[in-house]
């Protein structure tokens, strides 16, 4: 059996944490661009227009079927050639650009579903009631409908975010140095030794991040929830 040094897990952790900002930047960039695209897709599905709906459905269907790594390779190797046809040169773009592009395309499909189901979950009567007491359309949306949508959307959004974080670890396969990339780099520098310890350190990091995100989302959701009535003490009978 190969030697195992648990203390190396904790020696590796600080070095990996140094690259946490890279992982965070990828996630934040993807959430931003992915959500933008997701809004358009959701609108396409909700609105009457047939073309928009067919396109949005097709997009979501295709994205749902494609492994992240295949799309990542396709974008990384294919996008420069493709844009070259239009005279756009992105050969010098950083790896982060390709990673964020890939995961925005993926994340948008999840977000489209998040937006759509949140929108549909809020009862139409809410807007009508708001307008009927004299609020403007904008006020009705901003003050009444939107807050309810957000609360409904939080669990699904959290799911999508955690997924993004996990899938984002594939970025190392095209050479991006985030926490995962740094881990692989360290293993390479050690000529393969300490790999188990470094992977365990990464497990701790990703697991911690997921728990952090989920706990945070839970708190956010509770703060937006209307005060719930205290549960009655005993079971109902008769």
């Amino acid at each position: 059996m190969r030697p195992f040094h648990p203390q190396y897990i904790f020696e590796a952790l600080p070095q990996l944490i140094l690259y946490l900002p890279v992982t965070a930047a990828i996630v934040i960039g993807t959430v931003f661009f992915g959500s933008l695209l997701g809004i358009f897709l959701a609108a396409g599905r909700i609105r009457r227009g047939r073309v928009g709906r067919v396109f949005a459905n097709l997009y979501i269907y295709v994205i749902r079927c494609v492994p992240s790594i295949v799309l990542l390779f396709l974008i990384y190797y294919g996008l420069p050639e493709f844009l070259n046809v239009f005279g756009i040169n992105i050969n010098d773009a950083g790896k982060g650009f390709f990673v964020i592009t890939t995961f925005s395309l993926l994340f948008a499909a999840s977000m489209a579903e998040v937006f759509r189901s949140a929108y549909e979950a809020v009862d139409r009567g809410q807007r009508e009631a708001a307008v009927s007491i004299g609020l403007t359309e904008f006020q009705a949306f901003y003050r009444i409908v939107l807050p309810q949508c957000v609360r409904v959307a939080i669990p699904n959004f959290t799911n999508a975010l955690v997924n993004l974080m996990k899938e984002g670890s594939l970025a190392y396969t095209i050479g991006l140095i985030d926490i995962m990339g740094k881990g692989q780099l360290m293993i390479g520098q050690n000529h393969g030794s300490y790999s188990l310890e470094i992977y365990l350190a990464l497990f701790l990091l990703y697991w911690g991040l997921t728990i952090l995100v989920e706990k945070g989302a839970g708190i956010w959701e509770r703060r937006l929830s209307p005060v719930k009535q205290e549960k009655g003490g005993a079971g109902k009978c008769s």
Binding site: G233, A234, G235, K236, C237, S238
Partner: protein
């Protein structure tokens, strides 16, 4: 035939049954009345061990048992001698009407399939659903579903039928068809314990009416006694309230 003594049951802090004793003879139609929260549904559920009582005893033909510590075998025996009709039907959603009725025969009692089929059909015919054998619950109206529920209960030839507010979940226009089936069973001599809010049913059919409030039996007697000469103040108040609410005339 069936007697339970001193039944006690609490949900957490809330004492729901505070020592209830009832006796049922063969052919009795016992109707239990009472405001919501009085413990009448819980009592019925304790009889079928859907709730485990905290105290009390049961004598059921040859069976004698503590309610709290009844063994699995005893519970199973009691359940095979009784049948339960639920407020919200609880038909098996993944089975047709016929299959719903057959389950209790073919699976629980190991009745041969041919015989189970014949008995299930007879039970459904009896409740007037001979044209709905192969319908799933989701394809039936509430009244039809409850009649399947009753068919499922009578198919196993139970000694006692337990009805837990069988019409409370129904739209007013569907209540009649279910009550008609229950009256028919009563006439044929079935032994029934019925928790209900249907006062006319109680008046017309009950051989014994029990009024419960706050986890105890306040008063019991024949339908005539309870409805025309109630003795207890709480009974009088209850009857005045419900009979006015429901617009019934004594």
């Amino acid at each position: 035939m069936l007697q339970v003594k001193n039944v006690q049951k609490a949900f957490g802090e809330n004492q729901v049954l505070r020592g209830v004793t009832i006796e049922v003879k063969k052919g009795d139609i016992v109707v239990i009345l009472g405001p919501s929260g009085s413990g009448k549904t819980t009592l019925l559920r304790c009889l079928n061990f859907l709730e485990r009582a905290d105290g009390g005893t049961m004598d059921f033909d040859e069976i004698h048992t503590e309610l709290k510590s009844a063994s699995k075998a005893v519970v199973s025996k009691v359940r095979k001698k009784t049948a339960f009709v639920f407020q919200n039907y609880n038909l098996f959603q993944n089975k047709t009407a016929l299959e719903n009725v057959m389950e209790g025969l073919a699976v629980a009692r190991k009745v041969p399939k041919e015989e189970a089929l014949a008995r299930a059909k007879a039970a459904l015919d009896k409740v007037g659903l001979s044209k709905r054998y192969d319908y799933y619950p989701s394809q039936l109206s509430g009244g039809q579903q409850q009649r399947v529920g009753i068919a499922r209960a009578i198919a196993v030839n139970p000694d006692v039928l337990l009805f837990d507010e069988p019409t409370s979940a129904l739209d007013p226009e569907l209540i009649g068809e279910v009550l008609a089936v229950m009256k028919k069973l009563a006439k044929e001599g079935a032994t029934m314990i019925v928790v209900t809010h249907e006062m006319t049913f109680a008046q017309e059919v009950a051989s014994k009416v029990i009024f419960m409030d706050g986890g105890v039996i306040v008063e019991q007697g024949s339908a005539e006694q309870i409805f025309t000469k109630p003795k207890e103040e709480r009974t009088i108040q209850f009857l005045r309230r419900v009979l006015k609410d429901y617009d019934y005339v004594i």
